[in-house]
Symmetry: C2
Subunit: 150 residues, 2 copies
């Protein structure tokens, strides 16, 4: 099913986590959970201040080689009548944060995630993944009030 | 980081949902949430009895073209000290369920998911995705007691 723009915007505004799949070396899919905001219909995910170890910047290398990514938002519930998912095909690139062009994105991240009160949005060079949606598809076991999701 | 076999087995036994990424048409990654069990180190996910609409069998077509998949288990928490993920690179194929060879898998699914008490494990032709792990990598903000996860 398709969501209308208001529904889509609401789900992206309230849902805290997505899973990003990109194409790794040798063409294998790679996934990682991401935090994100949507600004003017474009999704941004910071390469952020959470501690990380080797390999977590793989997503940057991947999208430099192949811009095709998938962004999955979903709700798992032990009550299987409440399952839903929203899958967004997107094209990704990497943008520098820390300047006027990305200030609204950083402000939106701070509003969405109070955690950034005690965590830096960026660690090291300010960097954002920019994910431009191409199409989406949604699924649910039962009808979902998309604009009432919290 | 790497989990030892006992830790890996425990996480796969208790965690109810994973996200599967496969390679779609034109080489784009595609994701879908899955339920699954691990039997003898191999992960199985049923094409199951939950209602579905167009497109959800895409995963079957994808792995027929390209066996490379990613299986992501993760925990999102508003307390970012509690984040973890476990990513498994796997090779996928499709196996027929409903015979003696896959009976232990179906029994394990019924044990793990009491929901199958009121939902058929399969809808239509019994079919399982078989996901053979090649390697895994795990990440967490703080040390996780993997064998105590619930």
């Amino acid at each position: 099913m398709q969501l209308n723009p208001r529904q889509l915007s609401h789900v992206l505004a309230v849902w805290p986590v997505a899973r990003l799949a990109s194409i790794g070396p040798r063409g294998r899919p790679q996934q990682v959970p991401i935090v994100f905001v949507a600004v003017d219909g474009v999704i941004y995910s910071p390469i952020d201040g959470k501690p990380k170890r080797g390999g977590t910047l793989q997503r940057i290398r991947n999208v430099a080689r192949d811009t095709s990514v998938s962004v999955l938002l979903d709700h798992y519930d032990s009550d299987w009548r409440r399952l839903w998912w929203l899958r967004i095909d997107a094209d990704a690139d990497v943008v520098a944060g820390g300047d006027a062009a990305t200030d609204p994105v950083v402000a939106a991240l701070r509003r969405k995630y109070p955690q950034y009160g005690s965590t830096e949005v960026f660690s090291g060079t300010p960097t954002l993944l920019r994910l431009k949606p191409r199409r989406h598809v949604a699924w649910s076991t039962q009808p979902v009030e998309w604009e009432s999701l919290r």
